[in-house]
């Protein structure tokens, strides 16, 4: 395996008294597509939220592209990262949320342009061009000046993907991106993710309940159970040929 783009090292996370992650060791290779599956409460969303710096690990380390995420080195010692350090490392990471979280006061074009201009200092004209291209790619080239409130859930989620992709992250995180959608809109969103995955270069971590989709695009499927990685392997190994009772009882709920 090539030098990993992200490494979790014995990561624990507690919310108050409740320990939701009980020691996660996980490596993600560049361009690897990893699907995180597991029952609700198993901690899969927390794993990617820590990588996006939205939750701080209680203990353990996360390394992104060779740099500590939540720590920085000072006189040979690891100290908690400050905002400046977090900003520097998190520039490699993008995320799409379950509830889209578009900015309602901006047109969808502005939603895509705000970060390249203000974070990366991309000239306005170029940011606009990149955003238009990306919105065309997700099939919304004719909606540039619409506001989020005018779009369907599936369209909103595609805007959210374009907005994240314009920043050209090395890792993209998808947090149950189809869970809040009406069933008939799920397909269009998965189709876009499939396209992005096919292009290849970017690592992707997907928290999902769409097993067929996971089988289709993931290089590796990771099954989480009660805050630990219980099984992992290729989609065939995990989704079809596992002997784990917990995993099979979980999977049986998705078979009709």
């Amino acid at each position: 395996m090539a030098k990993p783009i992200a490494v979790y090292n014995d990561v624990h996370k507690s919310f108050g008294e409740v320990e939701v992650l009980k020691g996660i060791d996980l490596e993600i290779a560049p361009a690897e597509k990893v699907a995180l599956i597991g029952p609700s409460g198993s901690g899969k969303t927390t794993i990617i939220r820590m990588l996006m710096t939205l939750e701080q690990p209680t203990s353990g380390t996360i390394v992104v592209d060779g740099q500590y995420l939540w720590h920085m080195e000072k006189n040979g010692e690891l100290v908690p990262a400050n905002e400046k350090h977090l900003r520097q490392v998190r520039g490699d990471i993008g995320m799409v949320f379950q509830h889209f979280n578009l900015f309602p006061h901006m047109s969808i074009l502005e939603n895509c342009m705000v970060a390249p201009i203000n974070v990366k200092g991309v000239p306005k004209k170029e940011a606009r061009q990149r955003s238009v291209e990306m919105l065309e790619k997700v099939g919304l080239g004719d909606k540039l000046d619409d506001y989020p409130s005018q779009l369907s859930g599936g369209q909103k989620q595609r805007v959210a993907m374009a907005r994240a992709l314009v920043m050209r992250p090395k890792i993209m995180l998808f947090d149950e991106v189809t869970s809040a959608l009406d069933p008939e809109l799920v397909g269009e969103v998965l189709e876009v993710i499939r396209d992005i995955a096919r292009e290849g270069e970017m690592a992707m971590v997907l928290v999902t309940h769409e097993m067929d989709f996971a089988r289709d695009i993931a290089d590796r499927v990771v099954f989480l159970d009660e805050g630990r990685i219980a099984e992992q392997g290729t989609p065939e190994q995990v989704l079809e040929n596992s002997e784990s009772e917990r995993l099979n009882s979980f999977l049986s709920r998705f078979r009709s």
Partner: protein, 236 residues
């Protein structure tokens, strides 16, 4: 005693003179309160418990004491406080006194506006790696401010109506001038009625103006809703 139109006309110059003081003072107090409200709001957000408790206590103290007492204290008592005491002219006392008093209410409005913004907006801004400054100025405040406009407008009108309190420390506003004029002639009916009418004439259009302003701000955010009127039933 009967209504005398000639006397009405005679009293107008004095009342107009006072009106400018009242209006100017209202605007000065309001601007002071809006700016100082920001200070309260942001200092309270500093995540350090003791500071938050001290600020909360001071704000509660200011809100729970009558503005008239605060004005009297600043004007008559403050100069006698050793070391930090200062003699201030009535206008300055009025601006600071009423400004600080109402800033505590306005801070509360800002806070409610900021807290009404969904956590997901902060998270999306973090995921896009926006700086703290950009998060505030580009994402949070543009969404937090418009819904607070009607409440801010209410406070402008409330402050306008509280400004006559300052006549007690000698600010020559509209009420003060009308009262002086009345006492000179031993006839209060016309000047004081005029004062009441002027307050009404200025308060009402201000309320309408703020309603229009709010609709305009909403319209900017929502092209689906060209009237800008808030309809909570609309699916977003």
């Amino acid at each position: 005693m009967t209504w005398n139109w000639n006397y009405v006309v005679e009293s107008l110059p004095a009342i107009f003179q006072g009106m400018w003081i009242t209006l100017g003072l209202t605007i000065a107090c309001y601007l002071f309160a809006m700016l100082f409200g920001f200070v309260w709001t942001f200092v309270r957000r500093i995540p350090w418990r003791p500071l938050q408790m001290i600020i909360a206590f001071i704000m509660e103290f200011i809100r729970s004491t009558p503005p008239l007492v605060q004005l009297f204290f600043l004007y008559y008592a403050w100069p006698m406080v050793p070391y930090v005491g200062l003699t201030l002219d009535p206008i300055t006392v009025a601006i600071i006194g009423l400004g600080v008093h109402f800033s505590t209410y306005i801070a509360e409005i800002y806070r409610s506006g900021i807290e009404s913004i969904d956590k997901g907006q902060w998270e999306a801004a973090t995921a896009l790696n926006l700086s703290l400054k950009d998060k505030w100025t580009k994402i949070i405040l543009p969404q937090a401010i418009p819904p607070t406009i009607p409440m801010l407008g209410n406070y402008l009108i409330i402050m306008f109506k509280e400004v006559p309190l300052t006549s007690t420390i000698g600010v020559a506003g509209m009420l003060h001038m009308a009262n002086n004029f009345g006492s000179k002639n031993f006839a209060y009916l016309e000047p004081l009625t005029l004062v009441a009418v002027f307050f009404l004439v200025m308060s009402y259009p201000t309320a309408v103006l703020f309603r229009k302003l709010e609709q305009r701000m909403n319209r900017r955010f929502d092209k689906n809703n060209p009237t800008g009127k808030i309809d909570k039933g609309v699916v977003t």
